[in-house]
Subunit: 339 residues, 2 copies
DNA sequence: GACTGGCACTCATCAGGCCCGAGTGCCAAC
DNA sequence: GTTGGCACTCGGGCCTGATGAGTGCCAGTC
């Protein structure tokens, strides 16, 4: 009885605080959540919860607000992921179905996510390094200038220009193109890089510098970190939920959003195919310690190619956010599996 | 004597207000700008300036602030573009020189611009439709599936997959590739689309459906509006300069920044190769009427392929902003001319 | 032993009242 | 045309007191 009610009180506090953004006191709590006990009893429970570190008072004679630890407990034990309404599901599907290519899928996902959660949404482009090679094309732009085009399983295209120094014959070009594709097709980019290592040796010594230049460029493209950095961000107007102290609460978030590297770090550690929630100080970036992140990996079939999620104040609607993130991740994953 | 001093007073008011963000009164004005007249005289001039609509009082017994009209006059007649310091120039050059490809140039430009002006920076990706065709490549992904790759003079790459329905022979493929490139190479995309129209007729009737599918896709890629929409945004943390009323001043800007279409409209009308300044109500978007935009076109040689610039509060350092925008636009243009 | 009602106490918030000073317009004098 | 003087305005800062939500504790009840 006692433990159970304490949890119930915590849930009520979290829900109330998230809704009103104001510290919640014993009396209003009893009124709003028709708990069948008196405010005094609730006060005792609150005192216990505070003792255990789940809630705190901003100042004496104010109501209580949940601590990070309190939110943690809430998310782990009290919150069931709120199922989306049929209308919401339909909205997701119809809007995302309209996407014409990978870029568009990502763009639309980010918008959808921002709209559903009313938070800032972040979607990482499918990772280049974890996807596979669909095709490599070599194009002679000039006799001594090659364009190397890499197409991945997710439909992404990377291109590089290689200055070969000497002219490249048509037959060598065809030969090289064939051997590269033979070696790499269907391989994950990380593995494909290994396969390329041996290729130069299979050519005539005279041609090896050219071949090496090309394979070197490809290896570079395969492992290029910059390609991993691409993310789409949306719903920044929802930053208002962070409060009105620009420098203390909004600015760090904006800065983090522009620092894609930081962003990827925040989201990157999301475990595959499960919803990760990081609350307040759990976020591995000091400036964002009053921020929470709800993220999920996604990708075709059961691979995790990239991550998407939302950033919001710790005081957020976790069940709703988790539901939205899960739904969009599932949709995008399915979409990637089809192509 | 009289007209000239009035202008001088206006300049002083603008400069002071931009620096302090506070309405400026006659006394402080005389002190800070060592005008060789008395406050009373300045008051007379201010009364005249107010009469003419160049300045206004937020409320009685407060100092004056410039109106949009006042800023306009300032920009047109009083402001000389402040030359950048050698250090600033060097910073631009060294940072931008490090860019490895088109994406990187754009990314770095946006950062540089944001940093120099301490405002929000926007750089439009070089327009696809106004650039020229460098190369078109056709790749057989499967017998009945072609990948069409378009490379433009700005180094941008677009790719499309075409389902041909029937198998495509190697010789037809080579022939088609050759004729397409012959027709389009060096043409502006808009013109290239016209050149493609006649190509199907030059093939055997049996092959025409395939050829048409390919050229149709290319024409689509040439004129694809979506490709025109890409922009990079940076320095959003500088939104703080807009004030602290999130909903009234910051939010509309954030929303506009996410609406790339709106953004392009705002920047798109920038006249080629000249610096355009839009002040307050001159900005063609109601919500941004307390906002100014400083923009410039850029592109290789004397073409204008796209636009870049900054968005800030009307109360901004116009000479500095104009200098920075001009410098970055020049640099990027030069960079595009080289490749 | 768990719950409840009552009570004294704390403190953030808000409205009202006050003063201060920057800034103005006007006018008479130079 | 310029200047010094003067009376007036009014927003902002600061203090004050009232208000009320909220608390902890304690004694009483089931």
């Amino acid at each position: 009885m006692l433990e159970e009610r304490k949890l119930e009180v915590l849930r009520a506090i979290v829900e109330d605080y998230v809704a009103t953004q104001e510290p919640v006191g014993s009396k209003t709590l009893v009124e709003r959540h028709n708990l069948s006990v008196s405010p005094a009893t609730v006060r005792n429970d609150m005192a216990a919860l505070e003792e255990e570190g789940f809630i705190a008072q901003p100042h004496t004679s104010a109501g209580r607000i949940p601590t990070d630890k309190g939110y943690r407990l809430f998310v782990d034990r009290l919150a069931k992921v709120r199922p989306l309404s049929a209308a919401e599901k339909r909205a997701i599907t119809t809007f995302l179905d309209g996407a014409v290519d990978l870029d568009d899928v990502v763009q639309r996902s980010v918008r959808t996510l921002a709209q559903l959660t009313r938070q800032v949404a972040v979607v990482q482009y499918p990772s280049l390094t974890r996807s596979t090679v669909r095709h490599v094309e070599l194009v002679a732009l000039a006799p001594d200038r090659l364009l190397v085009v890499l197409i991945t399983s997710t439909g992404r295209v990377e291109q590089r220009v290689v200055e070969t120094g000497t002219d490249v014959g048509e037959s060598l070009l065809g030969d090289l193109r064939a051997r590269i594709n033979l070696a790499c097709l269907g391989e994950r980019l990380v593995d494909a890089a290994d396969r390329l290592a041996d290729i130069p040796e299979t050519f005539e010594p005279d041609d090896r510098p050219i071949v090496s230049a090309v394979t070197g460029t490809l290896v570079e493209a395969f492992s290029d970190e910059r390609s991993d950095e691409r993310v789409a961000v949306g719903g920044t107007a929802n930053l208002r939920h962070f409060g009105d102290d620009f420098d203390r609460s909004i600015r760090p978030v904006l800065e983090a959003l522009e620092e894609h590297v930081v962003l990827l770090q925040l989201f990157g550690a999301a475990s595959p195919r499960a919803i990760t929630v990081r609350i307040g100080h759990e976020v591995p970036y000091e400036e964002l310690s009053s921020t929470s992140i709800v993220a999920s990996g996604y990708g075709p079939d059961d691979d995790t190619l990239a991550t998407l999620g939302i950033v919001g104040p710790t005081r957020m609607d976790y069940p709703g956010a988790m539901a939205a993130v899960r739904a969009v991740a599932q949709y995008v994953s399915q979409r990637l599996s089809e192509d």
